[in-house]
């Protein structure tokens, strides 16, 4: 029991590796950037856009990217 308690727990190692504050901001922004990359690179066939691409204002993908961009701005200014 004591041995287990003294072992470095994985989450504490991760927390210790948390590093400076800018790293937190970079990680959160990075998550949304990665999300945008995934959204943009999804094949049109997966979204049922095979015949014709919808105008931008009717594209669910474009709206999703816009929401993600707003989140990046939120974390960039208030993170």
């Amino acid at each position: 029991m004591t041995l287990l308690a003294n072992l470095p727990e994985p989450h504490r190692v991760l927390a210790a590796a948390g590093g400076p504050d800018w790293l937190a901001q970079a990680a959160f922004i990075g998550a949304f950037v990665a999300l945008i990359v995934i959204l943009v690179s999804l094949p049109a066939t997966m979204l049922g856009e095979t015949e014709s691409r919808p105008p931008l204002w009717r594209s669910v993908r474009a709206w999703a990217v816009l929401v993600a961009v707003v989140q990046i701005l939120v974390y960039a200014f208030w993170g």
Binding site: F28, L35, Y75
Partner: protein
Amino acid sequence: MVRLSAVDVALVVGYLVGITAFGVWLGRGIRGGRDFFLAGKSLPWWAAGMSLVVSDIGAKDMIGLAGDGYRYGIVMMNFDFIGCIFPVLIAAFLFMPYFWLAGVYTVPEYLGRRYNLGVRTFFAVIWVLFMMGTLGTIFVSAAAMFEGLLGWSFWFSVAVTAAVVGLCTALGGLRAVVFTESVSCVVLTVGAALICGLGLAKAGGWGQLKETLGQMSWTQHHLDLLPPADHPVYPWPAVLLGLGFVLGPAYWIGNQAIVQRTLGTRTQNEARASYVFCAAIKLVFPVLLVLPGLVGVALLHSELGPPGEHWDGNRVLPMLVARLLPPGVLGVVMGAFFAGVISNLDSYVSSASTMVVTDLYRPFIRREATDLECLQVGRWLVVAFLVGGVAISYPIKRGFGSVFEAFQTFLSFFQGPLLALLLLGMLTKRATPWGGVAGMIVGVSTSAVLNSAEWLLGVPGGVPFLWTAWWSFVAALAGVALVSAFTSGHDEERLRGLVCWLPAKGRNQP
């Protein structure tokens, strides 16, 4: 007790009567289980999106987040930002369209088709138990508000709430739930915005509020959105990994009360659009829900003081409401509270009924049940769940805090493993039925061990729940992957429409 004027009482009662009549009216033309459980696949994206928002946010969230905003500051907004918007956008494109295309009624039904009946039944039973407990806690929240605001007794408050929800849900099914929730979404937004606007004005505006927060020692970090890595409750790596990558996605992808309205949309593109619309609305809600907490610091700190061990955060919002809102406006805000309560209740009642009929009644009790029979059973189950919720509400009232936390802890045992099974099941055809069973067992065992880490492993203070979610997810992923490597899976034809790289033949319309 808040003193409501005649105008306020009229607004609240009018709202309750109006929403009930609207729900009953929407129930016309229900002819079978598909109409009742999935609204006949006729829901527009905007209604499903608004419904998603209020299925998630109830009165207890409004009160709880204001208290947490007072205690911790804007870090609480992460629950709606990285904990909601991020997973909702992922779910919109990678999960919901495939649930929709698979033509399933419930998430466990998907798991059953993808893995086996054991996995399906396990998660169905877990969710039904959780929903039953949640119903009891929502009844208690509703009764507390009615009791405090209108002076009604506990049982009378519970009976009125059950009658409103029962009439709407048993007669109107998912269609009534979604459209009444759309109305609730508007009322909730207006009510929350009024509290924020009037509160901010009273606090002297944003500049003055920032100055006030900067003057107190315990609110120095209240305007930091990202907590430090050594934060005792919300270290940022745990927020990102546990909340953003596990609990958020598990909730938005695996919670039947959330997913069901999307399965009732007209096309898979509308299923996607409903989630994106929900994410767009959710950009505003963190501000609406957490800002009252900051306003509370500015206006009430001399009375409430810095949060200590026995400090009660649930007092912040009711105190603000009582002091800030003039007659008439108070009625609208009260309407918003009730909208939140009713939306939460009807979501859970409707989903629990759908899950019991789809995942337990049909597979185990009457395999040959007709659609009409399922409709009738579904309606009776709505009544049964409400009666059950009412019955357990009193014991929950007696030990509210501990019971509610017990339900939350109970659910957190299963969120990580559920997400792992859904993720691997949808993204790869290599995940096998035995892999699913192994992942479920390994993941839930990991959760149980980490949740008991304080006395089992001697970890001082235990493991934060966000880390428990993350590591149980990782363990379940490993369990599925390892056992799948040595066991055989379903053939490709069976997996069509269940794995995103294998579209169903003839069913890939947008």
